[in-house]
Subunit: 355 residues, 4 copies
């Protein structure tokens, strides 16, 4: 009953098999191998457009590299206040960009809106050279709260960004969960909606360690090659990282695994919402469930060995997500490998609680 993180889970067998299969003979190092080339072709098919791909081992690397390539050192990066790049990466964007500022944007459920983005942009009025240059808008899809941006949401935000000559980046550590939930072509929430560059995550979705930095604006590819190397993110035996992504993209495995995780979360969400005294903080749209529950139930689940984190953030006052007296807000993440069994065991334990 581990709902602490998608990172607590291991590697899907098909992906591990691909790693094993890549281990025959010698291959050109640093990405000159055949599997890396095949991965690029797969991404072009997947997104129905020309693009460039750089594989890196972590989402922080992909985010920071992507953002820094579009941000001058006096630039400003606009991210939701709860985004990973804002609060979990110890300043990666500032570091990679050489001192750009990360400007937090508000919005309920980790989702910014045209209104909150516009408000944040007022901190950098046009023509004022005393403040940073708005350079990048980064959106997390699915968000840190497991909520989603629809194609129109992204297009509307991207239009605002474009009006200030900003590039648009997607932190897609859970992009697969978003596509699985929305049922749209990936391109519809990527370049067709105005996205220039994105992080396409695989690690949380059954891989061992690989994320793709996908460039729809390919003009930055040569510079990013160097930025990746300089940051220590160009892996010498690239074929093993490429093999993971190759297996993810083959036969739609990435979408199936994300769908499984979403389905587990939906089942968990429905089960929790049906319990007395438990309510969802916001709708469960991907693979993360946020529930307000009595502290007693919360402790009861911990004692039963369930692993899941508490959650706290600003901006909850006046919403369903705000825990009342004797309540707690907690987060439960389902992975590709969580399965119905673990969900049902967890719900059974929860139902067994006598407040």
């Amino acid at each position: 009953m581990d709902f602490s993180s998608d990172n607590s889970f291991g590697v899907h067998p098909a992906i591990m098999d691909a790693v094993l299969a890549a281990n025959g003979g010698t291959a050109v190092s640093y990405g000159g191998d055949d599997i890396t080339a095949r991965v690029k072709a797969r991404f072009r098919d997947l997104f129905e457009t020309d693009l460039e791909v750089l594989l890196v081992p972590t989402g922080t690397a992909a985010n920071a590299l992507a953002v820094s390539a579009f941000t001058p050192t006096v630039g400003a990066v606009f991210a939701h206040a709860e985004a990973h790049i804002a609060v979990e990466e110890c300043g990666s964007a500032e570091f990679f960009s050489g001192g750009a500022r990360l400007v937090p944007v508000t919005g309920f459920g980790a989702r910014m809106t045209p209104a909150t983005l516009a408000a944040a942009l007022e901190a950098c009025p046009e023509g004022n050279s005393r403040v940073h240059v708005p350079s990048v808008l980064t959106l997390t899809q699915a968000t840190e709260c497991g909520t989603l941006y629809r194609p129109d949401d992204i297009a509307a935000l991207a239009e605002i960004a474009r009006s200030r000559s900003m590039a648009v980046h997607i932190d897609g550590a859970r992009f697969a969960n978003a596509v699985a939930a929305l049922g749209c072509p990936p391109a519809d929430i990527a370049w067709r909606a105005g996205v220039d560059v994105m992080t396409f995550g695989a690690t949380k979705n059954g891989a061992m360690s690989v994320e793709a930095l996908v460039l729809f604006d390919t003009s930055k590819a040569a510079e990013l090659d160097r930025l990746r190397l300089r940051a220590g993110h160009l892996l010498s035996k690239m074929r093993f990282m490429a093999a993971q992504m190759d297996a993810c993209l083959a036969d739609g495995l990435w979408l199936k695994l994300a769908g499984d995780a979403n389905a587990a979360a939906a089942r968990l969400s429905a089960g929790l919402a049906a319990l007395d005294g438990v309510r969802l903080a916001w709708p469960t749209e991907a693979n993360e469930v946020f529930a307000v529950m009595p502290s007693g139930l919360s402790a009861h689940l911990d004692r039963a060995g369930a692993r899941f984190h508490g959650w706290t953030t600003v901006g909850l006052a006046g919403t369903d997500a705000m825990p009342g007296k004797g309540e707690e807000l907690r987060r439960l993440i389902c992975s590709f490998d969580t399965g119905t069994g673990a969900v049902d065991r967890f719900l059974a334990v929860a139902r067994g609680y006598n407040g």
Copy 2:
């Protein structure tokens, strides 16, 4: 007949098995797992001292993080002019340190000497605040030319560094080859010789992608935790990287594999030196062979499908390593998996050349 790089080879079966074995159930992410803990214990045993270990996916990451933790932004890092950190990492040290300067040190065969180090340090006289502060001495062991520093060599260089309050770092991407060749306890060419921090490589020695940043001066451990995260080098599913290092260190596998690579290089070196018109640029001390050969032989080997790079650098004039008219200097690297067969096939092809 691939002698282009140790990175062209794959993963040793025992290491791959360990990766597979790590794939059961869930585990605490970001290094809180049991395997990572075991790896730390193994390193303490191996080096016979207390220390801290951070695992990262590349040598560039390990080098740059290690160096930057001991270098203020106005610091200077002293490295051999041919060192990886100097000429192959696109400025990683400058980037991670926020602008420190990398000062090249000369020396034949990619090996600096007390005299060449002292000469380089004259660029930063004590008490002159217009120049950088000497901060870190980084030595590559085995060197880029496959040569070695003996324990006394390191101690002598470290003493000079210490006299200027510099920290000492070892880039040990091929540290295993050095230990296998020198036959000394690892500590003798590490902390006992005055080393504060080192990169202990495994990737070139049969792993998939893992290097250990080993801190003998543990005061920097907490800061490095953050620097690693911020640089995107804290892997979420750490257990799979840890499993590789765990297998390397178990039962002395790392030393056996390095010994195999060295033996192959010795066989290749002897075979080449026995050929008419071929001479070694400098003695083969680890797993790299540098030979000056007739251009015709060089082309003959290329045509036969052998993969190995040409080599060029300054400072060769007046030495055996300087190619004469109609000659070329080329590098051949043997890996843990090169084997006697490939060496003998290569030598047979070479012997078949009729100038």
Copy 3:
């Protein structure tokens, strides 16, 4: 009737005379001259303690250099959300520190409190290596709103900082105005209250271009020498900058000029508060007046040629400072050279307004 900025005014005659007097013969460049030595001695007398002084041409330079010397690249700098370093310097702290984060602290009238500082520090919990290390607390004295921190205020905030091992910095672009208003020894709102480093401003107080970076914690002096040089802030003909500061400190000129500016502001403040429909946003404590006035009066004053800026910030809702319908919040700054005449002319114009 220029109330736009203390920077709009020129140089006090005594200070200009000192610059002229410094122009005889040759002198050792880069701060090796006699006047620079005398300035250091004056600061030691003024603050009744040992200290080091580095002169620089701007407050941004002094602030950024001071803060960066106490901030690792993964550090966090805590500043009021309205502080100059937060919103007027285009990321100087991030740049000089190599990517540290500036964390905004709230508080009415640009003054943080122990409660708001503690709340901001919660973003960086101890033991969490995913977030920045709290490194520097910077306080502006007098604040951007012309309000003051009393000695006990600073001591209480510094104690919180100290409990997290942070250094304490004062941005004293208007420190003279604070000392003149508080009537305390400078040391009482500096090192005696727990301050490690400060910017002692002179430019806004009648000098041409000179600020002192004063180090009570002298351990950083050698590093700051290099940081200043590297940032281009070590002036070759230092004597002319030193001469300005020398004249400021001689015979208490700095305190007299700041007192004159404060007196002008007090007169202006009282006059404005007495007008129908005008109220002070907060009390006038130094040389800046913030008044809420009818838009009609505001426009009337503009038409009469008065120069003064509008002011806007968050956090005013529910306070006297919040402009109502048909009202505006505006800022008026008095300098050493504003004088009674300009104040009275301005007030006369204001009194002549028939809403």
Copy 4:
């Protein structure tokens, strides 16, 4: 008899008068004043083209800002190994650019040649993404050795730079001395020869503290506005810095003062060369004299109170500049205010030496 530096001298009376004259009334701060506008117009006239100008207080600031605006963080800056930016600024270029590398170029008398520049560029072969991107060529005019680049020299070097898409920068701390010596229109050794951006120095030439960053490629002007502010180099009371430059440029004062310095150096050079046992290290082309003299004479001059530095650098072996046994190489700088008297007194002392 101070020949130690042009920075040891004070301010020319006409320039000081201009500073005094700027001290009436209030003025728009941060460069919005009339004098700053006039200076821009003067530069457009002087260089016979459209351009942008940013005034800063030091040459290090002007150099580092200029270079960084044209250098990505993975860029390489090519400078002569003896250039100020390479060895006297503690890494300003690396710092301002966020980690770019400074690549030293050789050449006798601090002057690079097409051949030495081409050789240095081989370190960054096209198409190799493991090394820095050549971004800026910076030339010092007059050089650190007081030698000159002719218009054709600059054009030839700029053509090489252009072939690699590099921008060309002139460090013109002593540009006035170069123009006075060459007798050509400033544009001929600036934009007409392929220069994109330059530092036009005034401080060493009789000003108090002002250098102009002149942009012939004006596309970087807006970014540089922010970079200057962020680096703390935007002076609030700009009119006083502008007044200095205004006076320099009025009526050709800058050229007259530089000509006076050159004439003093020529007289000193001729006098020294005529002495027994003394020889010039290289021809005196601007306001600096480098002479090899017997150590006894050198000490005799020191004892007589002459101030001038010793000089040492690599690459002298086999040239006239190499001191033999019992000889020393020393540098003598003449300023606008050195005058014939000091030169003749110095030469008289020298002539009075009895080896």
